[in-house]
Amino acid sequence: MSTTPNQTIQSILKELPTLVSVAVVETETGMPLAFHSNLSDFDAETAAAYNTEVVKAKLKAISALKLNQKIQDILLTLTDQLHLLKLSPDASKFIYLAVNAKDTNLAMARSILKNHAEVLN
């Protein structure tokens, strides 16, 4: 069973209603396919673009070392926010999720993203 980017956003939102922002991004172009944010000034295009560069740099690092491994996820902790990037199985898309550290912990956010990235199409 696969879901569209929009359905993914909606179901993540149901599980984490207090999230800061969430987006499904196309890795190749760095453009958001769907997004939602509880902040008025959230700029999905910019956030997607920066995060795509991070993913690409990391993919490059892994191929430079010939590690032959897949990126499971990338976690960034900020002062009071957690940012997670989770790649779809074929790495063509990724989910970007920002949450408040006081609402959610890293393990919860990771497990929610894991379920959604697997069926992302």
């Binding site: 700029d43 920066y50 991070v54 070392l65 491994q69 990126i71 499971q72 990338i74 976690l75 960034l76």
Partner: protein, 140 residues
Amino acid sequence: MKIPFLSKPTIKKVTGEAFGTERAQLATFVDKFLQELPELLALSVVEIKSGKMLAAYTSQASFDPYKLTAPNTKVVREFQNALTTSWLSGQQMNDLAIVLEDQFHIIRLLADKRRYCYLAIKSSDTNMAIARDIMRTLAG
């Protein structure tokens, strides 16, 4: 298992800026890490602005931290750029963890925000919470 001629146990330090006191400080820093996490794969300290490798250690010849300096520095810079956007103002980067299939990589800025420390370790040797806690304690 340690096979002497396959591993490179010596700490490699880079020329350039890491001379004098900084070099000595970083050598102690690497030593402390090795005491806490003796099985780590690679550890390096890089200056963000110049992308210069200040100290590097690897336990395997095939895992060359020098090949990672450019992409890792790019990752750090991109995140720092992202933090300048209005909706993220006031946030500081604490650490960044990349989870791979059987290892993970952690990047953490040092207290001076001028350099970052990069650690690669096998997931079977430690867990992420412990590795991040050690990073937090040692890198400040």
